[in-house]
Symmetry: D2
Subunit: 257 residues, 4 copies
């Protein structure tokens, strides 16, 4: 009856996964994340354990929020496995968003290192959610090594360009046996809604909320956008057609007078 | 403080305008319209005054719903003015959605007849909302003759193709001094959200709700989609960019250990 | 046998119509136009009859080039008719590209004034080619008053955005009984080719050639692009499909060894 | 002075690479390939060495045509290396288009097996041109192991959808030190031209020519489309802008009379 999202055996009511980067300050981040209704929040390992007066973790400790550490900044499988183990120890969770992007300009993921690291991390007992290109074959291979979900990108991180990979996301969704979470490039609620209408299981949004003029209102907007797209998918969208289906013309009505 | 939509001096809380065509039956239509939260509902004159056992008007008499008769089916200005006067008498409202589409295949509007009819109907005391091509110059001319809003199309009626005219809608929104309501072609909540994110004042949705597998859930989806897009516009969307803005790499973090 | 373009009873081998604006100088313009193979060149009335040392007309007097004066800069039907008559007298041609754009920012055409002027100019014996929005109903009305061709825009003049109106161009081409010439917005040979592949009869290109780094090479590029798209339309393009049609796999070949 | 394409130390005048599949018969294929001006033709290993009365190779033996055997149909690196060696022996060439697509529905390539096979084949002395997803990181890794070019896809093979991956092709072209050849999905000359305008070094076209109503005319169309796009790239395309740059209005001209 409930339309829950299940990842790694855990059930979520919200299909809006969020990140913690680029917010003006931690307080604003906390308020925006709560407004978004998110239940799964990813954060870079490098952002914790600094003896900060205002530790980011204080702002993420909420009963509704499940932490998803990520390996942002690592450049290969070896670094990723090391970072994952540090994250598990520091945050006491075996959940992991696996990100390996050697390219500092576009932050695009490395398919080969990601598959290698995913296979090893699954063996080490991690719940692995890999961030990858919208590559249907890679998604299947990751599924075969036991990842809990796949996170194909919509467009380059931080570009706000939306679902530029939509033709491939469609194939991924059609073929996947694990949840498909569209990550990266979602710059507006309409993009998030479109991903859900396509049949994605969830979306990850960070930059678009964090850098908005008003991040809290934008968080509410994305919350509604995701729910809206999910409802539309459940309700069954009509087909796209090339022309109108005319009903009886008014002139016929005039003739009947 | 409230973000109300004002058309013809009247204030609306909902920015989702709906139609009455193509629903399976009147009861389903009524439930879907109530679920959508709509406050302005358009209906063809030709659909009233038939001695129907189940008169459509019975299903539209709600305190929150404002009726917007339309001239669907007329082919020129003369027929439109005649139909408008009949509608005013029958429904006791001077509000009018002006539609003149001579082409039965695509139901596209006639710019010249529409301008002529709009000018005359304004003089006759109507609150005129014309359905038109996304033609910025025509929108300005309609504004000059006194229409209460302009209703440019997103794509052909019933096509579900979304905002194919987005480059021109943007110019219309930039230049208009009356509300801009995107009409026709909106086939999914993501399309409605995108129109609102662009700065449209409202959208009109009919087919996409009426022909959905579950019209009531789809009505809820569109309600949220419109609210979501409006919030995003108010909150200030980020710019689209060509590449990521990298934060400090993890390897730097490793170096700091 | 020959695939000629017929406008107003005159036959053209080239389907690339060009303009004279924005070139660095008249000599460069002349060389680029000759390289393009164009046989129909439009020029603004305001650019002639000035006692220039380097009169633009000197550079356009070629046996292969047919002049098409335009009314660029006029704001209504009355000014257009006056400008057309001046052009006829000055250039001794009754051919006319009718342009009425009251908006100085986007130079978008006025549908109502254009229809009125077209009707009058046809009566006055002009061969009228009106520049208009990609509005299928307006195109039919212009055809009814006797224009020789219709010139719907692809996107705003000078924007180089390409065929943003493609969904409407398709309808125009399907319905038109006079040649359809895509005008405005064509910024690259691929845009010109796409218009021809869609079934357009010709395209008009000006800015993209004139402001190119090397206008002569760009003129050659557009010439080939137009010819390429026309050939593809004649040869019959394949349908777009959602997936591959696999041929027998190599593994089957291995099995057969 | 000449604008030659250099791959693996060999110089080509044509930037249109073609395939041999799906033609009605070998004679038609031969005529179309000659009309296209192609100098590099790929063919599946599985299509040779059958004791056919009408051996395909007879139709490909032309001084201007360089053969590029491909591994179409193999599902992993091991099969690819085996197939490559068979091809080298049978066709006496060390050139190879490396294709590994385990998925029979969409024929999308496997990034991990492709990288592994490419590394081994380069060591074995092959000139390797791998067919891959438009994945910029994978392209760099393939370049690092010594491939002679990269062949990212525009959209799924045989779909005719064009450059759906354009945002990623742009990054690949920006970053690559080896020729970038857009492969798969190019369904019309306008797509081929657009790839060249983007800065691609060449395109591969097969289905769109082979299944055209008239393959020979379509081959000519693609030849011109590729040349057109290349010329445009060399000539320097103008930037896309949001509005027109108005020249002096006609009314100013009237005022000057």
């Amino acid at each position: 009856m409930k339309d829950a999202l299940i990842i790694g055996g855990q059930s979520f009511n919200s299909r809006l996964i969020t990140g913690t980067g680029k917010f003006g300050n931690h307080q604003l981040m906390e308020e925006a994340l709560l407004a978004s209704g998110t239940e799964l929040v990813t954060m870079a390992l490098k952002r914790i354990e600094k003896d900060d007066d205002d530790d980011i973790l204080k702002h993420l400790r909420h009963p509704s929020i499940h932490l998803l550490p990520n390996t942002s900044g690592v450049r290969n499988a070896k670094e990723a496995v090391f970072a994952a183990q540090m994250a598990r120890e520091a945050l006491e969770t075996n959940w992991l968003k696996l990100e390996i992007h050697p390219d500092p300009k576009y932050l695009l993921p490395d398919p080969v290192e990601t598959l290698e690291a995913a296979a090893e991390l699954v063996k080490l007992g991690f719940i692995v959610l890999p961030y990858i290109h919208a590559d249907p074959v890679l998604c299947k291979r990751l599924e075969e090594v036991g990842v809990a979900a796949v996170m194909p990108l919509g467009s380059p991180i931080g570009s706000n360009k939306g679902l530029k990979t939509i033709d491939f996301l469609q194939i991924i969704i059609e073929q996947s046996n694990v949840p498909v979470i569209v990550d990266a490039g979602i710059g507006a609620p309409s993009h998030a809604a479109a991903a859900m209408e396509l049949g994605a299981d969830a979306v990850l949004v960070n930059t678009a909320i964090a850098v908005a003029g008003d991040p809290i209102t934008m968080a509410l907007a994305f919350r509604q956008g995701v729910e809206s797209g999910r409802k539309a998918w459940l309700a069954g969208l009509g087909a796209v057609s090339d022309h109108a289906h005319a009903s009886s013309p008014f002139t016929q009505f005039l003739a009947e007078l």
